[in-house]
């Protein structure tokens, strides 16, 4: 079995938002919608203060609450661990948005563009009306993952079949791969580091691992 996951090394992330921009470029998300974003967290009290950068997106949970509540079966969990949305089935009820503890989903109820209702030529070319008024989120660049099955390339190893955010990361903080493969880059990273998954107590079994120290 294959289970694709992402590892994010919090020690390496510098908060440059390149992954955010790469995701917008790859997926043509509308203004104000970021499937991938990096949060800037300030903690502590002067003089003992810290600043942490936290990349967030859909966690592609093994036990996704969004899939459980979806009344239309538009949200499904694939055999390779990706959580997908069929835009043609979704009714835009937002139940999945409420169910997601990672704030990863959003609904845009009307088409809007960078400068109002009229799209730029580049926006018009990539505008997908199927994504209006339905739920959307990070797909782990599913088209690239599907291409891997055809071409025989390996996601996480070959950039052509690796999510755009991972490809773009300037500090090498993000890795993508099959956690069921003990030789994959993510398996090796997880074996050599201390890590956690967010909100594990909710039973979602997220597919994003945050690395915070060496083992």
């Amino acid at each position: 079995m294959t289970r694709y996951v992402t590892t994010i090394d919090l020690r390496r992330c510098v908060g440059c938002q390149t992954c955010t921009a790469a995701c917008k470029g790859a997926n043509a998300t509308p203004p104000g919608i970021q499937w991938r974003r990096v949060l800037d967290i300030e903690t502590g009290e002067f003089p003992d203060v810290r600043r942490t950068f936290l990349p967030m997106a859909c966690m592609h949970c093994a036990n996704p609450p969004c899939e459980e509540v979806c009344p239309t079966k538009a949200t499904t969990k694939r055999a390779d661990g990706l959580v997908a949305i069929d835009y043609d089935l979704c009714i835009g009820c937002a139940n999945c948005v409420m169910a997601c503890p990672y704030d990863a989903r959003s609904i845009v109820h009307a088409a809007h563009f960078s400068y109002g209702d009229k799209p730029l030529p580049s926006e018009a070319m990539r505008f997908d009306p199927a994504r209006v008024a339905v739920s959307m989120k990070c797909t782990f660049c599913v088209d690239r993952i599907d291409e891997a099955a055809v071409t025989g390339r390996i996601p996480g190893v070959h950039p052509e079949v690796t999510p755009a955010c991972v490809n773009s990361c300037i500090s090498g903080a993000m890795e993508f791969g099959d956690i069921e493969d003990p030789e994959s880059n993510v398996s090796r990273l997880l074996a050599g580091t201390q890590h956690f998954r967010m909100h594990e107590e909710l039973g979602t079994e997220p597919g994003v691992y945050y690395l915070w120290d060496q083992s």
Partner: protein, 306 residues
């Protein structure tokens, strides 16, 4: 285009959900009361006029709520897709039960056959329970997913149904029945107790500070207007004070109003998202890892809140 700029703390901390507006709240508000009313209509043994009026009111309430939701969803012309996921989705189950409610309720209204009135009552309760589970299944909203939210939503739906029943009964021969009035006091007492349990559970078990602030501010007014005042009115009515029917109607409407305000606050104002949590802040340079952080949540000593 003049768009509000989200500051970083707004993205980091739990925030009020913005996807389910008053239309979604209206489904829980009206639908829950309608389900409760159908149940108590089946149990109350009212006269024919009052039974028909109560069934009709229950069905209208449920239909109103569902209509509001229909106007809220992004793709209303695909609404029938809602029936595709009965295995796990409580929204699908609610929609399936709604068909039964309107079928049994419609026939009960026409025939007044006891079996159909009873069936519509059972389905009304099932509809109410389904709605409660819709909220509780949303893991992204801590104040909804708390286990006590299910009994709270069911209890307030039942209380609202009982409140409406008292109002309807006031226009029929059953208006004088002390059992209905006594039943209203019992039900609002149960709702008050469950509310207290829910709030205590949220405070101990965890909810974003913003949600707790709103719910704690709501509590005293909810208890006073939705419970204490109607109970006093019912006691006055039972004690033989003049204008008994008016007192009963006022008590019933206050119970309904209290429940509706509570549900609006639960769905719209106290519905804060989970926010983020880091079990460990990363090691930077040669220093140690930082402590856990969970912005927007109150830390409770001796407990692991992350």
């Amino acid at each position: 285009m003049n768009k509000p700029i989200k500051k970083m703390p707004d993205l980091v901390s739990p925030r009020q959900q913005r996807n389910w507006d008053w239309r979604a709240a209206a489904n829980f508000i009206a639908g829950g009361a309608g389900g409760g009313l159908l149940l108590f209509t089946a149990l109350a043994g009212l006269d024919a006029f009052a039974t028909r009026a109560a069934i009709l009111l229950g069905l209208v309430l449920i239909a109103s709520g569902l209509t509001c939701v229909w106007f809220e969803i992004g793709r209303p012309w695909r609404a029938l897709n809602v029936y595709k996921h009965f295995a796990t989705s409580w929204m699908t189950r609610e929609a399936v039960v709604a068909v039964g409610v309107f079928g049994a309720g419609g026939l009960a209204f026409l025939t007044l056959a006891p079996s159909l009135v009873f069936l519509s009552g059972v389905l009304g309760l099932t509809f109410l329970y389904s709605q409660a589970r819709i909220l509780a299944a949303n893991k992204g909203i801590p104040s909804w997913r708390h286990p006590a939210s299910v009994p709270l939503m069911v209890a307030t739906g039942l209380a609202e149904g009982a409140g409406f029943l008292v109002v309807v009964a006031a226009f029929g021969t059953s208006a004088t029945s002390p059992w209905i009035l006594a039943g209203l006091i019992v039900i609002v007492s149960v709702r008050a107790w469950i509310w207290k349990t829910y709030l205590a559970g949220l405070t101990v078990g965890g909810a974003p500070e913003g949600a707790l602030r709103i719910l704690n501010a709501t509590g005293p007014r909810f208890v006073l207007v939705g419970h204490v005042l109607p109970a006093l009115l019912v006691v006055a009515a039972l004690a033989g004070m003049p204008a008994r029917a008016a007192l009963s109607v006022a008590a019933g409407l206050l119970v309904v109003a209290g429940g509706w305000v509570l549900k609006f606050i639960l769905v719209r104002r106290a519905a804060f998202t989970q926010g983020l949590a880091l079990r460990h802040l990363p090691v930077r340079g040669q220093g140690p890892a930082g402590p856990a952080t969970k912005p927007g949540w109150k830390t409770i000593a001796g407990t692991n809140r992350v």
